[in-house]
Structures are given as C-alpha cells and as structure tokens.
C-alpha cells in the first residue's frame, strides 16, 4: 500500500500553462499520426511489479549491449582466412603466420584504442546473456507462466535461446584462434556424424573438408547478420505478444487489491517503470563495463592462431555449450555398423540426446496440458510448490545440465580435486542418471510438503476470497 495513492497528485494537476516546445511537437506529430492516443496507451499500460519480471529485461539489455559493442567490433574485424604475417606490437607473435581474421583481432586488442575493452565487454556480455536467458526461462517454467494462452511466447523464447547458443558458438569462433578452431573441428564432427546426410550437410556448412578457407566468412555472415536479424525479429514478437497478452501476476495482490484472472495490478509504465528499466539497463552496462575492463576473457594472443596440427588443454567451449561437451566426454565408445551403416559414437551424445531433451523442453506447455488435462487460460502464476511434479521435473532437468556441464570441465576439476579424470567421467555417467532423479524426487517432495503446509495455514476467509 502506498501513501502516494492517497496523496493529492503533485504532478498531474498543475494549472494549464502556455504550450511549450514539447507540446507543439507532440501536437504536430499527433495531427499527422494520431500518435498521442497510441503513446497514451503505452505510457499508461499497467505493469505488475515483481523483481522476477525484470529477469527477461536483463537478457534483453544484454542483447542491446551485444549489438552496440558488436557494431564497434565489425568496423575492425576482417572475416578473411588468407594468410598474413603478424607485424603488430605483441612480441611473441612477431613474424608468425596468421590468418587475416586473427590479425584483425590482434589489432583490435592491441592497437585500436578501447578495442580490447569493447571486445571483452562483448564477450563477457555474451557469457552473461545466456545465463540471463536461462534464469528467465527458469522463472517462466517454475511459475507456470508458459501455460495457455502463452504457449506461443514460450516457443518464441525457446527459439531465442537456441539462436543465442548458435550466436555464441559462431561468435567465439570468429577470431580464428587455436581454442575456437578446436571447437569448430568438433562442430564439424558432430554434423558429419548424422547418418546418411551428415557428410553432405557438413560440406554445405563448412564449404568442403574441414578446415576450409570459407568458414570464417560464413560464420561472420551468420554472426553479424542472419542471427541478429532473426533474434531482433524474435524479440519483437516476444515483446509484442507480452504486450498484448499483458503480464501474468503472482497470486495475492497489492495492499487491498486482490489479483484475479481478470485484472492486472501494478504500476503505470510511465514514468516509474520506464525509469527503472532504463536504470537497470545502465547498471547492467556498468557492471559489464567494469568486468570487461578488469577481467580478461578469451586471450586469443595466448592461444595463438589456429594451426590444424596443434592443440591446447584444457579445451572447452564457453559455458553454455559445456553440457554438450560433457555429453561428448561421458559418451560410450559404441560405434556399431549395421548393414554397412556406421553410427558414429558422436551421434548419440551430440545429436540424439540434445534433440530429445530440447524437444521435450520446447513442447513442454503442450505436454503439461495434455498430462494434467488443464486447458484453461491462466493469468495468475503459481508458486513453484503449487505444481510439485513440474517442480520435480524442472529441478531434475537443471541437475542433469549441471552434471553435464561439470563433466565438460572434468579435466580442470580433476586437477583441483586431485582425482583421476577417468574417475570423474565414470562418476558423471552415474550422476547424470542418479542425481536428476534424486534431486527431482526431493524437490517434488518438498513441494508437496509446502503445499500441505500452506493448505493447513489458509484461513477460511482466504479460501472464500480466492474462490476455490
């Protein structure tokens, strides 16, 4: 309950003054476009406020920062694998044979003023961007925000997550350095492993046998053109749908106002929400700027240029593909040949399992509706414990991905835990099955307990009010 509501409005009822420049501009625009009517609707839109509704905004603002820093980087990056001799100021690479792409990233890092800062902010933002999407998805999932009528936006969101993963992979591969070259090699093997069409598909994507000279240029087109365009389209649709369907809201309400399926309780978009969101954007940018300035990321000069016969350890992708790395590391070495068709050992862990998991994830709103038989519209969110089965499944899925991600860094972990890598792999194989089940059951159980407890505490009056 705010005191502000009861105070005489200080801002809205000032005596009419002579029209200002701003008024004249608004008038001019409105006469021609009817813009004021639309703007009024926008500014007066009601947003429920809860901090968790800003989780998606974090991802959105990361995307904006990625575009801004990315545009700067494009002015200096050369998407070209032609060999050149490095002549820049970094002594250990003097005279080294590098690709023009690698050379341009070196120049960006050592010769372009503020270039290294922009590169590091861009890369750190990408790392945080995917984390922000993952947490946002978790919020949507565990509160049931994906339920009818919001299935379409769930699908759009899943698409955006996948695009973000591909954008990350294509992005960190661009410098043509030793570490990312290793990642591309694995990508080539993954595509090649698909039965029947694999080799053809890999040749189409890579322009021939790995490593081809076409690759960096293609990745570049994907990274700076196709993927960002698709993502902007996706984000636009995502936000438009959100706009028209309005936010969900948590059960309960604000002060004396009770949340119902048929109302929205919150604050006007303008000015409070706009200022807060703008402030959030600035503060996120501030954190990432400091991070980009103080913590080194992807030092391509240390990895050196891509040389196909060289390799560096530890060799991992950025964290958001660590689960795939983990799956590949713990995969069995089965490679059966049936009727002359070999199923490469890469195929199961990198194509089949991700397809099943992401398939179920994508279709989750429909699966849940089918299983629960609940096909009603829902504007009121659930607390995670109000749907214990979903809570359990979600917790299990998260645990699965955490185990896989840890397994993807098993060599690094092995050093610090002082155990054998082989033992960690064996442990990961067991944990990838056991841990999700255990955590899922515990989460489910806790949810059920909590639901019972709340049921006991509910007063008859509340029972009456919530109308159930």
């Amino acid at each position: 309950m705010t005191a502000g509501r009861n105070r005489p409005a200080a801002t809205g009822t000032e005596p009419a003054l002579a029209p200002t420049e701003l008024d004249r501009l608004v008038g001019w625009l409105d006469e021609r476009t009817g813009f004021a009517r639309l703007a009024r609707t926008v500014l007066r839109k009601v947003f429920p406020d809860h901090w968790s509704f800003l989780l998606g905004e974090i991802a959105l603002f990361c995307y904006v920062i990625l575009v801004l820093t990315g545009v700067f980087l494009t002015f200096f990056f050369a998407a070209d694998t032609r060999p050149v001799t490095y002549q820049g100021p970094y002594p250990p690479l003097k005279g080294a044979d590098v690709s023009a792409a690698f050379d341009s990233v070196m120049r960006l890092s050592f010769e372009v003023r503020a270039g290294l800062l922009m590169r590091q902010i861009h890369h750190w933002t990408a790392v945080v961007f995917v984390a922000a999407i993952v947490v946002h998805v978790c919020r949507i999932f565990f509160t049931g925000a994906f339920r009818r009528p919001r299935e379409i936006n769930w699908l759009v969101g899943v698409g955006l997550l996948l695009l973000a993963l591909v954008a990350g992979l294509t992005g960190y591969s661009l410098p043509d350095d030793l570490l990312s070259g290793t990642g591309l090699r694995i990508t080539d093997a993954v595509v090649t492993s698909i039965p029947f069409i694999g080799p053809w598909l890999a040749y189409l994507i890579f322009g021939g046998e790995f490593p081809s000279t076409e690759l960096i240029g293609r990745l570049y087109v994907f990274h700076i053109m196709l993927l960002p365009a698709l993502m902007i389209g996706g984000i636009t649709v995502h936000l438009l749908i959100l706009w028209f369907q309005k936010h969900t809201q948590y059960p309960g309400g604000e002060g004396r106002l009770t949340a119902h399926e048929t109302n929205v309780i919150g604050r006007h978009f303008w000015p409070g929400q706009v200022f807060r969101s703008f402030g959030l954007f600035l503060l996120i940018a501030a954190v990432l700027a400091v991070l980009g300035g103080l913590v080194q990321i992807n030092p391509v000069w240390v990895y050196g240029p891509f040389v196909s016969s060289a390799v560096s350890s530890p060799a991992q992708p950025d964290w958001y593909l660590g689960w795939l790395e983990g799956l590949l590391r713990m995969g069995p070495n089965w490679e059966p040949t049936l009727f002359g068709v070999t199923i490469p050992s890469v195929f199961g862990p990198s194509i089949v399992i991700p397809t099943i998991v992401f398939g179920a994830f994508t279709l989750w709103p429909f699966i849940e509706a089918r299983v629960s038989g609940d096909h009603n519209d829902h504007q009121i969110l659930q607390w995670p414990w109000q749907a214990p089965v979903r809570l359990g499944i979600g917790a299990a899925a998260l645990t699965f991905f955490i185990v896989l991600t840890l397994a993807g860094g098993n060599d690094v972990l092995a050093v610090y835990l002082r155990v054998r890598v082989e033992d960690l792999t064996a442990a990961a194989r067991i944990l990838a099955v056991v841990a999700p089940i255990a955590v899922g059951l515990i989460a489910w159980r806790l949810g059920v307990e909590r639901a019972r407890q709340v049921d006991r505490e509910r007063t008859p009056l509340e029972e009456l009010e919530s109308g159930s």
């Binding site: 530890p314 098993n410 050093v415």
Partner: protein, 265 residues
Amino acid sequence: MSDRRALGGVAAVVAVAALGWAVTAGPLAPDRIPVAEEAGSDVASTAAQVTEAARGADLYQASCAACHGPGGEGTPNGPAITASGAAGVDFMLRTGRMPLPEPGQPVRRGAPAFDDTDIQALVVYVASLGQGPAIPDVQVSAASDTAAGRAAYIATCAACHGAGASGDAVGGGAVAPPLLDTAPTQVGEAIRIGPGAMPAFDPSQVSDARLGQIAAYLQFLKQRAAPGGQTVGGVGPVAEGYVGWLVYLVALLGVTRWIERHRRG
C-alpha cells in the same frame, strides 16, 4: 515471505557459485601453493670439491637410499635413478618433488626440502652413480626470442600444459603442471628428462637455445600477457563461465532486486 525465501534460494546459489569459483580459479585454487624460488645452479664449479661429494653421499644415504637403494639401483619402493643424471636429480629436488614425505605418496611440486648447497652436493653425488643428462644451460635474457619460444611451446608443450601454461589433467591420474612459476633451468631439465608421464625431448628436437626461448616465453606469459586484466586461473572458458555466473547472480540479480524496491508508507 515468499520473496524472502526466493532471496534465500538466490543466496544459496550465489554461495555455491562463489565457492566453485574460489576453489577452481580464485584464492583457494591449489596452484597458488607457493613454489620454490629457484636459482640457476652452477654445479660445474663445485663438482671437484671432495667434501661436497662426501656430503652428497651422506645426504643420499639419509634421505634417498631407503627407496632408491644405496647405489641408486632402485627398490620396490622407488625406481632406479642411476640414469637420471644431474638434470633429473636437480629437477626433482629444486621443485620439491623429492624426497617424498612417505614412500608411495603422489609426486607433487612443493617447497624444496634442501638448501642450495645440499642440492648441489646431492646432484653431484647422484650424477656420479651412472650416466644421465647434464643440467642444461638455459639462457634467458631481455633479448630472448619469445616468438621462437612461443612457436616451440605451442608445438611441443601446449597440448598438455595448455597454451596459457595453466596446466591440465592428462588422464591416468597424471597432471601436466602449470609452468608460470617454474624457473628456466627446471623448464629445461624437464624437457630433457621427461619427468613422470612426460616424454623427454633430445637436443635434436629442442635445442639448448630453444630451451632458453621457451623459458623466456613462459616468463612473458606470466608477466606481460594479461593486458585484459585478471586472468582467473588462465584455464579459459571453464573459469570464465564461473565468473560470468557469479557476476550475474550477485551483481545483476542484486541490482534487479534493488531496482524493484518501492518506497512504502
């Protein structure tokens, strides 16, 4: 109420992430164990001194013979070291890998158990037990060719020790240790003798001049290869991922919670 619980959940995740980071890349990371300062050893000039040889023999019998045998021929507890040469003994002693606290303990880098004089005495004595590689003359100077060093390092060493020399597990319980704190002479000795699971490299593959260049490159990596700031362990995307999550969970979620604060009453 539910807000507070959610905050507790966030705090728990943050704590776990922080711990993970601290243990793998942060202040608790094991590779921060202080590593011995190692001076170049000048064995040749003292090799002739008889008293030193006697001291070496005494030290050997007291600290090494139990496992390696009275004449370096090896026992069930330890391998023969007659072929280790001055390079092998010097490496093991100056990096604190030998003597082991107990027979059968894993061989790990640490502070050297002997002072410089004792190490020289032991080196002279053990080298006299058989034939083995001499301590290489690893020359590092400001004029060293770090470009040649880098090329050799990437081709020969980076597969196991990592391009950033952060070290890595190579399976079978073996670890290629981080090299940024290893003294030039010990870098050269390791390349010549191939300690533990590491293969050895002859002068025909890696010349003595090249040893100096590789050592110079490692010094460059340690001192001058981080224009971007903190290196978070130098292990690459694994540590970077932890840092990214830590920043997200602490800074960005913190900011978000604060922004949605509303003036009440």
